[in-house]
Amino acid sequence: MSGARPDLPRWADIGLIPLVNVLLAFIVAGLVVVVIGESPLEAVQVMLSGALGSGEGLGYTLYYATNFIFTGLAVAIAFHAGLFNIGGEGQAYIGGLGVGLLLLGLDHSLSWPILLPLAVVAALLFGAAWAFIPAWLQAYRGSHIVITTIMFNFLASSLMVYLLVNVLNEHGATSPESRNIAATAQLPFISDILGGFGIKMAHTPLNLSILIAVLACVFVWIYVWHTPWGYELRTVGQSERAAVYAGVKPRRVILVTLCISGALAGLVGVNEIMGVQHRLLLNFNAGYGFTGIAVALMGRNHPLGVVLAAILFGILTQGGAELSFEMPNIDRNMVTVIQGLVILFSGALAHLSRPWLEALFALLSRRRPSLKEA
């Protein structure tokens, strides 16, 4: 990434350029909708009302956002150390495996309030473990983290198929799924909790995990900006060589950061397995790891930005499902297209609009003094 150029005011650099980039992505997505012969404005309307217009829509939106926060934070914290963790997909998968194994073992003896912290630890440990080998290889053997984490995504998927087909599936059952975990071990849904207080809400997959997501955001914010480890992490991200001169050991920082990153992605397992699916199954991680990249890029790697971007992608995912009902011409994979466009414009083409904006600001600042003179 090239360093910040000083030709723009700070607010424009932090606020305007990302906004313009996202806007460009949505304009191109709108063009795709036009090609399909539908009205983009109408599509936006359907998506917004589908995602936010009802308690049910809102619940689904926030449920998706919970997963996106976990994977978005995972990508973001690695970015701060100058690393690209593309393996959120696999780490989330294995994190879910950890949660599933724990629950399948203990669900009849313990209830959810005791199991929840254990499940969180299991998700963190399994996610971190899946990131550990690529992390170690990156730090000590110099093999590129992007390639190894891609390979580990595929390895995770092979491992899960093997386990669910041969080991964990119910005896005699043909479908690659584990048995259901006991009802007492399942995380309560938000709708049930609110129901206990007499507030009626439509039943949605939204569950207590969203609170864990909030805690994870706070953790990342404190860790990256308010601890010595975070300082070391950002130093390594800025310049590995400078970090060495400052007495930081980059290898250890890389190892620790990537394990934290994997652990955060692993938390998807708590939401999915303990909160929603209540059993181990194939592909519950579908696409969340890759969406995390879009979320992190759009949220500029800051926890607050990640939350906002995660909610936006929650809206897109839920609204996209609604859209495919209302406008059958638009497949729900439109969300994947938008993700790709956001990654393209906020990531790879991040500086596309900069020369234009610089010219604009130069023009404005040239005119302002002349106004004063007059």
Binding site: I36, I150, F152, F154, Y162, I330, N333
Partner: protein, 322 residues
């Protein structure tokens, strides 16, 4: 093992290797010029969709091939624009291209053909069918040689032969031509190339264009030669296996070919072994064999099987000194 079965398995391995070989050569050309390409998968998928759509509409395999190549090349140019001109992050751009391809193929496909993202099944007319090389009937009577010629040398679609020619062609281009010398130089030390008065930008764009051409052929093969139509995400990670094969071959054409053939063979064997019990071992877990390419590549990258060194300047945008 029954020799007939052996020949069949080897032939199947070559068929399964074909998209890997084309993509590995594509990735090799791109990465030797310093442009990391994890978007091989996306380009191949987009080309597969474009080719199958064109074939479904026109019934012409050749137009389909052209269409596949054009679409893959356009995506390659997008990657090139982001990485070379805009100096963006090459991995990020690759991820974007993969997601765009995965989404757009289904969105456009389900709108155009109304079959949930699939293209209509093709008849033989719009496909590249297996060719029978001259002399098969002549040699049929000859023992061993006749069978080998019939089952292993003849009987592939044209694109398989194209892939096999692409390997020496890539080797020649990269190692024996002036363009290749400059290409390798620009991937290792672009400053030197620039100082010599050769355009880094144009060299890298040409590499990216070649990458688009080859991934386009690979995608076309997947949808209209190997299969009779497009289905969603049909490339199923083969672009990444090709990437692994390229690394496994240490960014050199012939070793990369070897890796592709090995990975194709593993795939063919795992299909053959599905549900088969082998005496003494029991049922072989197919997933284990399918995971081998990835596991082997990680082991290689870890330095346990030789050492894989990427082109020095790959992944780093070139900024001309002012």
């Amino acid at each position: 093992m029954d020799p007939e079965l052996l020949l069949r398995t080897l032939a199947a391995a070559l068929r399964l290797s074909t998209p890997l070989i084309l993509c590995a050569m594509a990735g090799l050309l791109s990465e030797r010029s310093g442009i990391v390409d994890i978007g091989l998968e996306g380009k191949m998928l987009a080309a597969a969709f474009a080719a199958a759509s064109m074939a479904a509409v026109t019934g012409s395999a050749w137009l389909a091939l052209l269409c596949g190549i054009v679409i893959a090349t356009l995506m390659a140019l997008l990657h090139g624009y982001a990485c070379i001109t805009q100096r963006g992050n090459q991995v990020v751009s690759g991820v974007a291209i993969n997601l765009l391809a995965s989404g757009l193929t289904v969105v456009l496909g389900s709108y155009w053909f109304q079959q949930g993202g699939q293209t209509p099944m093709l008849t033989d007319l719009g496909r590249f069918r297996p060719l029978e090389l001259p002399g098969v009937t002549l040699l049929n009577g000859v023992p061993i040689l006749g069978a080998i010629y019939r089952d292993l040398v003849s009987g592939y679609s044209l694109i398989v032969y194209v892939a096999l020619i692409a390997v020496p062609a890539t080797h020649w281009l990269v190692n024996k031509t002036r363009f290749g010398l400059r290409l390798r130089a620009v991937g290792e030390y672009p400053q030197a190339v620039d100082t010599a008065g050769v355009s880094v930008t144009w060299l890298r764009y040409r590499a990216v264009l070649l990458c688009g051409l080859l991934t386009g052929i690979a995608g076309t093969y997947v949808s209209i030669a190997q299969n009779a139509g497009f289905s969603r995400d049909m490339t199923a990670g083969q672009g990444f296996i090709a990437l692994a094969a390229m690394i496994f071959g240490k960014w050199r054409p012939y070793p990369a070919l070897g890796a592709c053939l090995l990975f194709g063979l593993l795939d063919a064997v795992s299909i053959r072994l599905q549900g088969v019990r082998i005496a003494g071992i029991g049922e072989v877990p197919v997933q284990l064999i399918q995971a081998l390419p990835y596991a082997l590549t990680v082991l290689l990258l870890a330095g346990f099987i030789g050492k894989a060194v990427a082109p020095k300047a790959s992944g780093i945008p070139y900024v001309k000194e002012r």
